[in-house]
Symmetry: C2
Subunit: 201 residues, 2 copies
Amino acid sequence: MIQKSIRRRGRPRNFKESAALEKAIQVFWSKGYDGVTVDDLVAGMGVGRPSLYSIFGDKRTLFLRALRTYAERKGALTANALLSPHSLRESLASFLRYTVTSATDKGSASGCLLMCVAPLVNDAEVRRFLRNAAAAAVALVERRFQSGISAGEIPSDFPVAARAKQVLDLARGLTMRAQMGVSRKALLKDAEEAADLVLPP
Amino acid sequence: MIQKSIRRRGRPRNFKESAALEKAIQVFWSKGYDGVTVDDLVAGMGVGRPSLYSIFGDKRTLFLRALRTYAERKGALTANALLSPHSLRESLASFLRYTVTSATDKGSASGCLLMCVAPLVNDAEVRRFLRNAAAAAVALVERRFQSGISAGEIPSDFPVAARAKQVLDLARGLTMRAQMGVSRKALLKDAEEAADLVLPP
DNA sequence: CGATTTTTGAATCATTTAGTTCGAATTACC
DNA sequence: GGTAATTCGAACTAAATGATTCAAAAATCG
């Protein structure tokens, strides 16, 4: 059993670290990195300024943590959508649908923290992280194609690598259009058509 | 004939307006909007601060003008790539290749001002402009598909609207990967494969 | 040359911003 | 209850940033 919150001495925090981090994700997501001030974070997270610095460090450190947290959750949900026991076509559609619903979720900003805001951050560590995340996503789709070959859903000469890249490029396009304000309904339809496109008829 | 530079009284400028605007495009392109300070622009454009304000207005006005100039040129080059007298397959490949070369051009930042930086600007006019630009791009590809139908290159029941959206989504994906640092060579290969993907075998 | 027009460079102003400090508040431990 | 530990809120500092002002410079026109 994991040890739960050790009772600490001193005045207790009046916020949950994880909840505050979620709020931080929202703030960065909606305003970008350079567009966010520490005041924005203080207001949006419901955390006092000194607490913010003492617990999360400066703006850059907080952003990196927000990015990792966001990517971890999104990666898990993506893997779930993609690797559930469905037909290959349905797995791809499910992945693209999740991309769309996540990018058009009310209650969050549109688009995607990883695709729409992080790439603009001029920071070597952020870039490295993004490259790894992208590589992991491609690998996930490739894995699904491979298991489709094993299951006989697609021929063994199916161009796995090329198609996986195309699936992700299509997902990127859908995400960008979500950020531009295209409706979820329209994008969900496009997601289905995209899933059909990458598979042989 | 358009009247050329009227000889104006007073001290002449020591910069060309168009050249300065090009520099401004580069600055915004590489640093985003919020990430750019007026000092960055002054340094990058080779224009004094008062001159900058008197000629281009404030930062937002300058950005809008840079955006329009960039989009105009890119739109013209895109139309050129797409509507040149080639086979449909070659037109699409040419469009996607141009997307890649422009997004991986040394001497400019990676990616694309319209796709990678403008969407983050929280400004109604910018958003409206982006929507229009995107719609124009889709219309262009649709036109090319239509003329492909007329020429008998694709069947008359070809799903023009859906495929046009997919072509643009693929272009968006290629552009984003360019910004992430994927090599031009790799992306050009992917562009060819993307062109093949959207056409019937 | 002298008057006029326009641009330039430097200095300046007011505001915003990142980051810190410090006393008051709130809790656990004894 | 008293003390130590921890957090909170507000005020503060120093640096940056957006925007303006103004005299000097540089050109044309008469």
